[in-house]
Amino acid sequence: MIREFQHGTKALPSNLPCRLIKVGAVEWRQIAQRVRTDGGRLLTLWGADDRDRDGRYRVYAAYLNANGVDVIEHEMDGGARPVYPSLCEFFPSSLRMERTVFDLLGIRSMEPDQRGWLRHGGWSESAFPLRRDFESNSQSAAVSEPYPFVQVEGDGVHEIPVGPVHAGTIEPGHFRFSVVGEKVLRLEERLGYTHKGVEKRFEQLPLEEGHRLAARISGDSAVAYSWAYCAALESITSADCPPRALQLRALALEHERMANHLGDLGALGNDAGFAFGLTHFSRMKEDLLRTNQACFGARYLMDFIVPGGVVSDLPAHAHRLLLDRYRTIEAGTASMRNTYDNHAGVQDRFRETGVLSPELAWNLDATGLAARASGIPHDLRADCPWPPYDKLKPKVSTQPSGDVAARAAVRFDEIVESLRICRALAGGLAGGSVRNAIAEAAPGLLGIGVIEAWRGPVLIALETGPGGSIRRCHPHDPSWQNWPLLEFAILGNLVPDFPLINKSFNLSYSGQDV
């Protein structure tokens, strides 16, 4: 696809086909343009301070192309004002990532919006936490700095600020609505409230413990993140993960997908004024979490996936428990789908609410579940399957309408497909061990782990340091791409519909704030 740029190309360790391509500033932009025209996607963007090694700063962009992942590396002189060309012209989702690269590293993209994103005033403007010479445990008194929201002028326009603390048990973030009457003219998000220095923290952990932090980047995607981390580390060390462990990981990942979908479908019913939906879905979710406890040893699988495999095998009676649980979830979900589909009140609230057209979704870099609900049939489990998904042939579910109803329908379909996958896995488990030892990693190696989580692809870019240390670890959540979609999907809708529309995306705050 990007053949003409292949001079500095080498293969990168990853669970997907992956290459590293080193380029100059001009090619950095040319490649972005080419990827866009060829239908590829921007997976993530990050930077690194390598002045201690060779006097350079680096930025990396990871793209998903038809043949796998291409990581583009561009290096800059480590002088006082390192800059690189912005990718926003081709991939608008790059903007917040570029602002973050500046907040954490002091490397500026040539993009006019230079407001801080993760830095709210909690550390000095001239301090950059991911630089090698930054003292990570330094604490300074927070100075809360005013944030210049974009103003909407006009007759009868007023602003409604919401957050960061919300009504209800959810994560914190700020939403600034400009409205006329009850109609939303503009929404601007301000995130970063749960920024807790994850990337710097990684650098204090040994390689063999990083998966524990990865699992806690977004607790609802613990399996996906810990798998992505382990996939990166195992690729770097050429470790063999036993086939049975890979199957158990996939089982856990599908349980995570179902648990989140069940929770969301209940909450969507509730937000549409149908509390009965919440009662039934929250019960099915609880049943599944209890099955997790019985089969995997925990309700939320924060510590199940470990480098080289999984922490424990299934207990002897697990097969029976799993199949019983799949049966009740299948019956319960089918019956609730029927109920939702035939409930006039629910349908009235779901349909044509929070519409994200396929065209807009594509232009804005929508990814994962939200993209599939706007007609974009991307799912790495099918498009670029890693073991054991290569044998499972997952079916991708899409909906064309891009509204709340579509995002609910994709969840319903995906529960059905996850159940099929889980039954296939549970019925065909390989024998043997569930964990292999992994070799010590050589320093200075970059590896990439990518896993299709329930929201979309999560990525871990891991670079090894000397003596089994982590030199750099960059996690990426699909919420980076999808948060900006919400600003568009809400336009023209009523303020009271916001909770429902927001829930239908259910994006991660912690995963993007890191």
Partner: protein, 166 residues
């Protein structure tokens, strides 16, 4: 509608008994009674995510599912801190949430009960203290009780709530 009703009847009542407080054997009705005596009404809880990974939130949300039926034992979540008797705080306190947490604490009414939830709320968890994290909730506002776990199970959270209001 008929279908919905049939499903309600078929499902029956799923609520389990409220957990026992660690050092006492309080029956559900006694817990009810103890809440009423202490507060004269339902216990109102305000939750603040001060920087959590969202794992603890999921287990707090689970308290509203039919198995734990929080409202059934006289405990409800409220939207405004001014209506709250108790603050349930999750996460290590991120530097970016410090001010919002302090403000919410100031807004709740006396006696300002605070329960810190999870390994993070208790001691900072895996995130610890850093340029972006203040660590434990108790390092930012006064805490009456903490519940460990990552995330703690709903029953453990419920036990901590009951413990602190007794």
């Amino acid at each position: 509608m008929i279908k919905t009703l049939v499903q309600i009847v078929r499902t029956g009542i799923l609520t389990e008994e409220a957990p026992q407080v660690a050092d006492a054997d309080l029956a559900l009705s006694e817990i009810h009674e103890s809440i009423r005596r202490t507060l004269g009404r339902a216990l109102c809880i305000r939750h603040v995510d001060a920087g959590s990974c969202n794992g603890c939130e999921l287990e707090i949300q689970a308290l509203n599912n039919p198995y734990y039926n929080l409202e059934g034992i006289g405990i409800k979540f409220v939207a405004s801190p001014r209506h709250a008797d108790l603050l349930l705080v999750t996460g290590p306190v991120s530097v970016n949430m410090e001010e919002a947490l302090k403000r919410t604490f100031d807004a709740i009414s006396d006696p300002k009960l605070v329960v810190a939830v999870g390994d993070c709320g208790t001691c900072g968890g895996i995130f610890g203290k850093s340029y972006a994290s203040r660590g434990a909730v108790a390092d930012v506002i006064p805490v009456n009780h903490s519940v460990k776990g990552c995330p703690p199970a709903p029953v453990a959270i419920l036990q901590a709530i009951l413990q602190v209001i007794r």
